[in-house]
Structures are given as C-alpha cells and as structure tokens.
C-alpha cells in the first residue's frame, strides 16, 4: 500500500506531521469500489465510467514498484475500443476526460498524474452539473488521489462530500486538507477548510466543534491578513456566542466583526441584521432601531420584510406607538409571501411590548397563515427569527427581560456601542443593493 502519509520533503517543513490515509468509502456505499457510479449512470456509459474510475483508483493506490506491471500491454487498446463503442465519435462531453483517464492503462512512464487529476476533475464537474453527486464525489476523490499532496484537491473532495451529505467522509477529508495545507503553507486553503468544516458542523448542530473551527479560521486569517475570511469568522463567532448566551464575548466579537468589515462587503447587511436581532433579544431596543433604520436602505427585497418586522419590535420595546404603526403599515403594503412569516412574528413581539395583546394575536395569525401558505425561503429571514405561539412569545419576552440582568452577565456595553456605531456608519456609506433604486 503506498504511503499517503509521506513525510515532509523540504527543509522548511521540519515538523513531522503524519496525515492519515483518506477513507474512500462510506457505510452507505457498500459493495465494490465505485458501485455508486453504476447507480448514477445506467447502461454501457455507466460501465465504462465505472471501469475508468476503478483503473485510476487501482493505479493511485498501487505502490511505485507495482505500477509498471499493473495492466497488461493490450489494456489501453481495449479500453479505447470500448470508449469508442459506447461514446461514439459525436463529441460526448465525457469522451475527452475518459480518454485521458484511459492513459493510466498505458506505459507507466507516460502517465502524467496532473493530466489524470484534471481529467477526473472534469468528469466530476460534469457529474455535478448533471445532478449526479455520488459520481462527482467518486471522481473528485480519484483526482485527489492522483495528486495526494495537493490540498486544493483534498478541499474539493471535502466540499463535494459535504454537499452530498456524506459527513463522515467530509470530516476525514477536512483533516487531510488541513494537514496538507499546513505542510505546504497553503494558508488560504487551510482557512477555507476550517470555514467549510465550521459551516458543516454548525449546520449539524455541533456548535462546540463549529466554534473551534471558526476560531482556528479566525486566528489563521488574522495572522495571514485575509480580511474577508477574518470578518466572516468573527461574525459567525458572534452568532455562536450569542446562541451560547456568553454576552460579553458576543459583544466583543460583534465589535471586532464590525471593525473588520469593509463597506462593500456583501456580508455587511447580514451582519447588521444578526447584530440587530441579538440586540432586540437582549432588550437593546434603541441601538437595534438605529441599526435597523440604516439597514433598511441596504438590504435586498428578501431581507427587507424581516427588517421592517424587527423595526416594529424595536419600536414596541421603546414604547413608540407611532413607530410601531408605521412599521406595521409598511409591512401591510408588501406583497404577501413566506418571507413575511418572521416579520409578522416581530410585529407580534412589538405589540406585546406595547401591551396590545389583540394586535399581537392578529400578527401571529398572519405569520402562521403565511408560514403554512408556502415553504419558507431560507434567505428571507435571519437566524434569530421565528413564528411561535402567543404564549411562547410572552414567555420569551419575559425571560428575555429577566435574563438581561441575570443570565450570561451584562455584556460589554462599550463594545456593543462601538459595534452599533461602526455598523451604522458602514451601512450609511455602503452601496445600495441591486434591487433598490438610488435616492438620487
């Protein structure tokens, strides 16, 4: 078996990191190597694609001594004949890459791993575009095995496995990517691997693991001066600390994220929204309202309803009936859609804070109707939204008020103020979204 945990070769790489060999199969992929390709692709095309993949895996996983004698002298000729028979001469999109991959069957001294990796990646791209994720994953892995020291190819396997929902394989390739990237000091790939891993763990609800990876991504991005990655990591750490109820840390991450953000960063409105919603949940209504007013000019249509609903909540918290009515009327004018679900829940919260229970019930009814009417667009609401019952809302607001002074400490007011000021400034200076007309 070849040593995929090869030791560093340059003088610079003195630390003896050993990288475990990658697992090539999952529990949900029983049977012979590459079987999932046969499930994805039927008929002779499936068979020749499967055979091409297996020949490549055979070559990649063979030792240097075995490679010259791995295939017999007629193997390349037979494979080419099969490819011609199945793919014809009409320019099938797989004809080029499978022909290139067939060269692995030829003389060993003419096999070029870079060319083979490129061909396997091309098949993977084709499979992804054709909606065949399992085939894409198998060929992506084959590409990464041709060039086992390349962290970018390992990262592409991580991403394909993650997108396919193959988490255990994705995690194994994550560790491999990090090891390879660290070995050749490919810090951009290293940071991207941590970002992808953190996102995957966050989506699976493994928040401590997500936090660890965001922290690693942040530290390395900070050290290497990768500003967008640093800003994103800080934003996500702010969200995670908010979820965890660690207010002081959350406030500081909010400030750092705001300071790291450029006015043109497309993630700025989302950060503004996240911070505003966190402030609302913690009773910082005045700061939240300032943010939301600036935010409303910057958000695209998808997020706009959520911002208006949050504005009604903030106005309710400040006891401003006029502001509440204004936001509610504005929401009334928007065409109904599932993206208004959380917005009406925000109106209900504002009404409850103003002591208008009946208005709150009506708003919740509308929220529920909209929620049932259509599937909820994940881009149309923020991460602190929801459409609960009236009793649940009352309990939430009561707990929020009590928790402001008790749970998680008081937070860092100066950091929170700095975050708000900076975000308002950035939002006021930044460009308008494409779907909103310029004031001029």
């Amino acid at each position: 078996v070849p040593d995929h945990s090869a030791r560093p070769r340059t003088r610079k790489n003195r630390r003896q990191w050993r990288i475990p060999p990658p697992p090539l199969r999952d529990g949900d992929a029983p049977g012979p190597e590459g079987l999932l390709v046969l499930h994805d692709l039927s008929g002779p095309l499936g068979t020749v694609a499967w055979k091409s993949l297996r020949s490549c895996l055979l070559w990649s996983l063979a030792t240097d001594e075995d490679r010259p004698s791995l295939f017999d002298s007629g193997a390349l000729r037979r494979r080419r004949a099969e490819l011609r028979e199945v793919l014809g001469t009409g320019g099938h999109p797989l004809a080029g890459p499978l022909e290139a991959m067939a060269r692995v069957l030829g003389p060993a001294d003419r096999v070029d791993p870079e060319e083979l990796a490129a061909a396997a990646s091309e098949v993977a791209d084709w499979a992804s575009a054709a909606g065949l994720p399992r085939t894409a994953l198998e060929f992506r892995q084959a590409a990464a095995l041709f060039l086992p020291d390349d962290p970018e190819l390992a990262l592409s396997v991580l991403r394909t496995a993650r997108d396919h929902g193959s988490h255990s394989r994705a995690e194994a390739w994550f560790h491999r990517t990090v090891g390879l990237a660290r070995r050749v000091r490919a810090w951009d790939t290293y940071v991207e691997a941590y970002v992808d891993h953190a996102t995957m763990m966050g989506e699976r609800g493994a928040l401590p693991a997500a936090r660890r990876s965001w922290m690693k991504a942040y530290r390395r991005a900070n050290r290497q001066g990768f500003a967008p990655a640093r800003a994103r990591a800080l934003q996500e750490l702010f969200v995670l600390e908010t979820y965890a109820g660690r207010r002081r840390e959350a406030d500081r991450f909010a400030r750092e994220a705001a300071l790291a953000m450029a006015p043109s960063n497309p993630a700025l409105p989302l950060l503004g929204h996240d911070v505003a919603m966190a402030w609302l949940a913690r009773g910082r209504f005045s700061a939240a309202l300032r943010l939301l007013e600036s935010l409303e000019r910057r958000v695209s249509r998808g997020l706009r309803a959520a911002v208006i609903g949050a504005r009604a909540w903030a106005a309710g918290g400040l006891g401003e009936d006029a502001g509440f009515e204004d936001a509610r009327a504005e929401l009334e004018r928007l065409p109904p859609g599932p993206e208004l679900t959380d917005a009406w829940a925000g109106v209900a919260r504002g009404a409850l804070l103003l002591g208008r229970r009946s208005d709150a019930r009506n708003a919740l009814l509308r929220s529920g109707e909209l929620s049932r009417a259509g599937s909820r667009d994940p881009e149309s609401h923020g991460r602190f939204g929801g459409a609960p019952s009236l009793e649940a809302l009352e309990a939430e607001l009561a707990a929020g008020a009590a928790g402001t002074a008790a749970r998680g400490g008081k937070g860092d007011e100066s950091a929170a103020r700095a975050a708000t000021d900076r975000l308002v400034d950035l939002l006021d200076r930044g460009p308008l979204p494409d779907d909103r007309p310029s004031p001029s």
């Binding site: 078996v1 040593d3 945990s5 050993r18 990288i19 475990p20 060999p21 990658p22 697992p23 199969r25 999952d26 529990g27 949900d28 992929a29 029983p30 049977g31 012979p32 190597e33 079987l35 046969l38 499930h39 039927s42 008929g43 002779p44 499936g46 068979t47 020749v48 499967w50 055979k51 297996r54 020949s55 055979l58 996983l61 063979a62 075995d66 004698s69 791995l70 295939f71 017999d72 193997a75 037979r78 494979r79 099969e82 028979e85 199945v86 069957l105 255990s168 995690e171 194994a172 390739w173 994550f174 560790h175 491999r176 990090v178 401590p208 660890r212």
Partner: protein, 273 residues
Amino acid sequence: MQSRARPLLILHPDGGVRTRIRAAAPDRFHAEDASDWAELRSRVASAPPAAVVVVDPGFAAGALEVRIAAELEDLLRSFPSATIVAALDATPDAHDRLRVLGDWGIAEIVQLDDDRTGPAIRRRLLSARAQSMRRLLSDHEALQLTGRGRAILEASVETVLQGGLPRDLAESLGFSPSTLLRWCERSQLPNPRRLILWLRVIFAAALLDDPGHTVESVGVACGYSGDQALRRAIRAVLPFTPTELRDRGAFETASRAFFAEVASLADLDADRR
C-alpha cells in the same frame, strides 16, 4: 488467539482464472479450490473472518436472465459477514449484472477483462477484506472520530485479521508503541491492547450472527481453541456468553458496547487534533 493462514476459497470453472488468482498473492493467502456451490458453502461455514471467497457469479447458473446463480444469493444471505468477491468479464453490456452483484453485498469485483496481472488482482483481493466490518466500525453515527482515529481503527481491523498484537498495529502505522498509545489517547480511543481485544470480540460476534455458523465453529474460525476460549474472550469485555450474545444480536450488541466505551472516553472540550 493464534495467527492463522488466511484462506482464499475459489469457485471458478476456468482453470486459467484460478491459476491467475492463486498466483496473485501467494504470500498473503492460502488458496483452496471448491468444486461446486455445496462444497464452497461448507468451507465458508468453517472459514475464519479473514477468509476471502472468489466466485464466478454465473457458475452453474443455467440460462437465468442476469446470469447470476441463485446459490450465490443464498450464500450471501447465509453468511453476510463473509467477504465474497465476484470474478467476471466487465464488458460494457454487463451494467445490470455488476449493479445487482454490488447490491447483493459482493465485497469486490475482479474484472477479468482488465485485471489480468498479479498486482491488479492482489489489490482487488486486499481491498475486499472484511470490508463490511470496516465500514460498520468507521461510519457508525455514535463514533465521532477524527481522521487520525479512523486511520487507527482501519489499521486495527487489518491487524486483528492477521491475528496481530498491539505492537504489530504500531508497526503497520509506522509508529513506536508509545506514539501509538499517545495517538489513541488524543483520538479518544481505548488503549491499543484494549482496542485489539474489542475488535477480536466484534469479529467473533459478526460470525455469531451468521445463521450458517455454530458457536464452536465461530471459536475455531476465529483462532480460539474452541467455544470455551471464545466464551472467556467475550467475558473479558461483555457480560454475556456466546449464546446470550447471539440471542441479543451479537454484532449489534458487541459494537454498541464498544461505541459506548469509546463515547465514555470522549472529551468534548479537547482540541482533537
């Protein structure tokens, strides 16, 4: 537990194919031919977990549409933990046949039209060994292992298949025994000695679940002197006799207990790298 030669059972009508397969890994396997499905079945019943079976799926299949013998399906059902490899021509029109074989639980396929050399066949046979067990262990939801932990587990499976000891495991990973111990700790796995013990019991448990095996044949197949030695080995990690373990679903019970022990070692706050 004694180290035993790994049997390679072959059922194929083509003498040339049998010779090729025999010659592929003379150092790794002890090859034996079977003359028909009945003989193969009785040999599989007494074979150790490391055994690999190579069959022509169309052997005496008659004129069935997919040209796969019903006896093969029966064999796979009776001995689901057995490692069975199909040897056939994978021509472009063989798609359905290949897919059905994979779905039935064939561990690997030797493509007779492509895999004509010794190194190619050897690699196919080696990649098939205990594949189902390895996957079950490395992909269980309860087992949140790092890449490093998975590598140790994979190598442990291989070591146990060869009747190896913890020092053999360290050697296969290229570590010293003390480095292996440290890696096990950092990967939140039991220490190497305990890990090997657990895997031996899990392998025996997999055979206990096969309806074609008796308790005694499992003991002998796993390299123990008999059912009493197997009982003592199981008692070292589980409070059951082999029969009780079989009644409860041996592999499931043993692997659950193993996962529980691994979970008890988990330290969520540790930086697992």
